[in-house]
Each structure stands twice: as C-alpha cells, then as structure tokens.
Point group: none
Chain length 197, copies 4
DNA sequence: AATGAATGAGCGTTCATTCAT
DNA sequence: TATGAATGAACGCTCATTCAT
C-alpha cells in the first residue's frame, strides 16, 4: 500500500511537471492530485527536488536501457534507419520527461549531471554501433563521438518539434525516421486536425 | 544615461542567469551586480520575467539574424560545411543564452513561444537553403522541414556538448563542422587540459 | 511487560532531553532510542509534554524527598555543612533533570508550576531546619524564607557551574560544600584535565 | 526610521518572549505586536534565533556592566550589603531577560554560551571584590570562585522567587538584601495583594 | 530618473498525533 | 498491547514588487 502512494505521487508529479513545469508545480498541487496528505509526500521523498531527481533518473535510465536494447547488435541492411526509428519510438514513449527537461530545465546541478550522463551513455551506444557498422572507417574516436552526439541531436530536436510542439502521433514516426536516415520515402503532410499552439 | 543602467542590468542578468539559472537568480542579485538600486530595476522592466523575455528575445533574434546572414545565398561547393560552420560559430558566440535555455528552461510559456519561434525561423532559413541547393530534389516541403530541424538539432547538441559541457574553445569549431558535414578531415583529439566534469 | 516499555521510553527521553533539550528532541527520536513504535508512545503518555511533565515531576519529587531525608533532624555540630553536602549530592545525582530544566527551560506553564512547587518544598525543609537550629533567632518567617531560598540558590548555581558546565566529578563535592558552609578547608585546585569549554 | 522598526521588533519580542517563552512565540506574533510586516523582520534579523541571541547578548551585557559598575571599588563598611543590594537592583531592572532565560531556557547552544559567559563575568567581578575586601584571606582562587558563584546563585534565586514568581516590587529590595548580607533588619511580610500563581 | 526600506503572499518542510490493522 | 503509515495544521523564511522620498 505504501508503494501505491509513492507511485501515485510520482505519477501526479510527472503529469504536473509536464503541464506546468517544475517551478510552477507546488508540493501542495502534487499531493492534491495524488490524493494524499502533505506529510505523506515526505515519507517517500526527502524534498521536492529529490522527487524530481528520482523521476529524471529513472526515466532517463529507462530510456537509455531501451535505446541500448533497440540499437545494439542490429547489423543489418537498414541499420541506421532502424536506429533512428527505435530511438524516435523511445523518445515518443518518454515525451513527458523530454518535455519537462527541455522546456523547464534541470532545476538543479544534480539533475543536470544526470541529464549529461544520459547523453553520454546514449552517445557511447551510438558510437559503438557506428564502429561496428564500419560507418565511418577513417574517423577517429573523437570524430565518432561528435557524429554520435549529432545523431542524438537530430532525434531529440525532431522529437521535440513534432511530438511535443506539434503533437504528432505515433503514425508519423516511420516517415520521420526515413528522413533522418536520409531515405527518400514520402513524409506525410502535417495533419490538419493538429494545430500548433 | 538611463540606457546605461538598463544595459548594466541586462548584462548583469545575463551573467547571473548563465551562472546560476533564472530561478536561482534573485532580482536583488542582479541589481547588486549591476550596481543599481532595487527600485531602478522596475523602471526598465515590468518584472523579472519581462527581463528574461527581453533577453531571450533579443539574443535569439540576434542569432537568427546572424544565421540567416551566414547561411543564405551561399550556393557554393562546400555549402553544407559552411552552413554548419557558420551556425556553430553563431552558437559559440551566443553560448550564454544557449546554456540558459537548455540548462534552466524557458521559465514561462511566453519565453517558450519565443524559443519555438526561433527554431521555426532557423528551420525556414535552412529549408530555403536546402531547396536552393537542390539538396533533396524529391523531398516534399514537410520532409525538408524534418531535415532542416534535424540539422538544427545536430548543431545544437554538439554546441551544447562541446562548448558548454566540455568547454571547448573556438579552435575546434572547424573540425566539428567537418564531422557534421560528413567530411573526413581530422578531428583534433580532446585537449588534455579540458576535462569533462 | 508494558511497564518495561514505559520505562524504556522514559529513560530514552531523559537521555535525549539532557543531550539536546526538550524542543530539539522529537517523539520519533525517543521511540527510536527506546526501540518501540511511534504509536506505542501514546499508549503510555498523553503527549510529549505529558512525558516531560511526568519526568520532571518524578525527578523533582525524588530530589525533594532525598533532600528532606538528608537535611531534616540532624541538629549536630556541623549541621549547615552537612546540609550543603547532602544537597549537593542530591543535585549531583540528579544533574540530568537540573541540566534539562536550567538549560532548556520548563516548556509549559504546568511544568513551571511543578518546578516552582519543588523550590517551595525545599525552601520549607530548609526553613524548618534553620528554625530548629535556632540559626537566626531573631528572623521573621519571611526573613527565614529569603534565607532558605538563598541557600538553594547557592547550591543550585554551584551545582550547575561545577557539575554541568565544568563537568566536575563527585570527588570535589566536599570541598565545595565547605566553601558554601563558610568553612576554611582547602578547596582542591581545578583538575587540569577538566577544561571549561 | 529603520532603527525605529528594529527597536519595535526587539521590544515586541522581549514582551512576548517574557509572556509566552521563545518557542511559543511565533515570528508572526512578533511582527503583529510590532506593527510591521513579516518580511521586515528579516531586514533586521537573520532568523528568529538571531533575534533572541541578540536580545540575550545585549541584556546580559548591560547587566554585567551595571553590576560591575555598582560592585567594584566600594570598599566601605557595608560593602557586602551594598553589593547584594545593587545586584538585586540590576536583576530587578532586567527581570524580563531573567524570566525568559530561567523559565524558558536558552533555545540554542550559542545562547547557552552567552549565558555561561555572563555568569563567569559576574563571578570574576565578585571574586575581585572579595579579594579586595580581604573577605576570605585564606581562600584559594578556586575557593573564591566557588564563593563568588554562590553569591550569584543567592541573588538569582531570590530575585527569581520574589520578583518573578511572587511579583514583589522594588520596595522590598533593601529588606531582601539585608537578609542576603546576613543583617538582622526586619523583612516586611509578603503583601497580601500579591498572590503566588 | 533613482533610491532602498518596506511589504505580504506564498511555499517547502516539520512533527506531534491518530488509527486501521 | 503494539505497530508504523498516514495525517494536516502550523511555521519560518523568501523574494518579487511597491512607493514615499
């Protein structure tokens, strides 16, 4: 039953942080949303920032694990397209944390560190794949890292622009991945029922 | 004379926002740093957020103008490399605002809108260039937009990782641009005196 | 068996109150120290203050009884010296409660009343003795009371200064009592290994 | 005008601390009593405890100065009687702080230190006088210190019992001092209009 | 224009107490 | 009797903003 409450607090916080950002969300908002008392919050988290750190940590870890699982070892023909696709899907599934961190910032240097560690982790996965594929045979390690970071940047920016700013749903992922992979497949036009706000 | 004070406040704020973020910087910090009185702040800015908006607006506008100037019309051989290089340089010169927005977030939906408008503006510049170059002759408008956003994502991520997280100086810009442009030139090894923290 | 737990709580509280004072000691500290659950506390005490009252009451009562026993009826030569000595010993043996009340206060008017009643009780014992000894044959009742209170003040201040502030051990009690009694016996020099802090 | 507010806060705090004790007095009580805003409090004091420390420090310092001024150098016939009288008067005039510290405790180890330093300071003044008077020619330094502390204890206890618990007014000071000095003068009976509570 | 003392709404956190098991 | 998760009222403190000078 205790873990139920903890889960409820995390879910409430995730929702509110996404909607209004970390600084605009009060602990009182979170506990009201979660249906628990003010004091209950502090049974499970040392502080509001501790909650955020905990959420960021677990979400980013989950993302890193998923990306690693999806992107490693697949040395097939369309490898790069698949990597983009799988990574986009992970970003889609975790757009809450993406939105929170991108729109509202890290809120503390500890969370910043966690975020930076996340990027480094993904970068290493991608660098590893690039090496295994022999994609850039004459690149140095340092160059491969730049290339890997640039792939992350591509995915993150389009994920942010299309999933968050423009509210695209999952049906466009493949078309977007094809563009990122350099393929020429048709990218469907922006749906008319989805308006930028 | 009044404009001197306004400039002083802006500079102080830019410095402090970069060092500690928007939410950790108090108006009292800004006026102390600027050497003016508390009340003077409100002669020039409606609120703390108004100051941030004003800073974000002008910095991003400056960046957009610089990128447009540097990236438009240059239909030469190494066009894409030049675009990456020029854009990286603009990012380097404006790494303060980049750091503030990436690390600490937008702090209000108005600033978010400004930020999104900035990306859209840059995207249009790049899309225009891609069209002029005939880089992707059979891409639809929508696909070109995805491609353009992905370029911005590349630049922004590497600019963040190398200029901000790893404190690279300007001397590495060309090498990084070459990787982003897909060139094979040697990327200089990470300087030993610069450590990731 | 329940009384074991009650005793444990009282001992834990006495220890913690002495170390950190009443206000700095949480009920959760006490139950942790006593090794019982939070709720158990309220089986034995109405409230945290009720516990303190209970402790103060029983300690002060014990002291009053001891002082009365030691100081009454002994109409011998060195009467006054013996009174000072015996009282100092009682204070020494109860320096915990002395420290709590002197350093950290009464914490409620009820406890204040208990403390005041204690002093009045001791005062009456001493007044009685003074009368029996004929120490101040021409003093009025009121004057004897002032004299009695002044004796208590003497003992309490030196007990506080030497037993609590300066951590003197029992071996100096006689020397101190001699000074209080106006005797000329040698007061041993302050031990060098005990430093005022 | 700023110092007016600071004074107002100090006076309000002194009054409320005396009436209800440090822990029962909220900052909101103090500012309401002083007629200033909540934030104004923190213009003049770092914290609630800082205010208490500041009050304790200045009151005790004032007392120490007054006692030293009154008790030093007067090597006349009735020296000891005068010392008791003057000291009682200082205690009477500062019964607020006496009441606060005795009834409600020191509230922090820093304030405890200030209090202990006060006692030591007074003790040294009294010891000095005892030496100058040749009151105890064959006492060691250590014995003189015990004697000095015992004098302070006498005064403090009777001051507490008569000025605070029993609300005696200034008219009884001389009679009390005579008893403390060992004189035989008549101590007036307890006034009937003043009741112990 | 410039000042800086004053404001007060608002928030994160604590902790004595309760109650279902 | 014993537990310990849950409660919620209460408080110290912050800081963006105002305004009399």
């Amino acid at each position: 039953m205790g873990e139920d409450k903890k889960e409820g607090i995390i879910e409430a916080a995730l929702k509110l942080f996404e909607e209004q950002g970390y600084h605009n969300t009060k602990v009182s908002d979170i506990v009201r949303e979660a249906g628990v008392a003010q004091g209950t919050f502090y049974l499970y988290f040392k502080s509001k920032e501790d909650l955020f750190r905990s959420i960021a940590e677990s979400c980013l870890d989950e993302m890193a694990v998923a990306i690693k699982r999806n992107c490693s070892g697949s040395v097939k023909e369309e490898s790069f397209y698949r990597m983009m696709l799988e990574t986009l899907e992970v970003y889609y599934d975790n757009k809450s944390i993406l939105k929170i961190l991108n729109r509202h910032g890290a809120a503390s240097s500890e969370i910043e560190d966690i975020s930076n560690a996340f990027y480094r982790r993904i970068m290493l996965v991608i660098k590893q794949s690039l090496m295994e594929w022999g994609a850039f045979p004459n690149y140095s390690e340092a160059q491969l890292e730049v290339a890997a970071y640039s792939k992350i940047g591509m995915v993150e920016m389009v994920a942010y622009q299309y999933f968050i700013v423009q509210h695209y749903d999952k049906s466009h992922i493949e078309a977007i991945a094809q563009v990122l992979a350099g393929s020429k497949a048709q990218c469907p036009p922006k749906p008319t029922d989805v308006v930028d706000e």
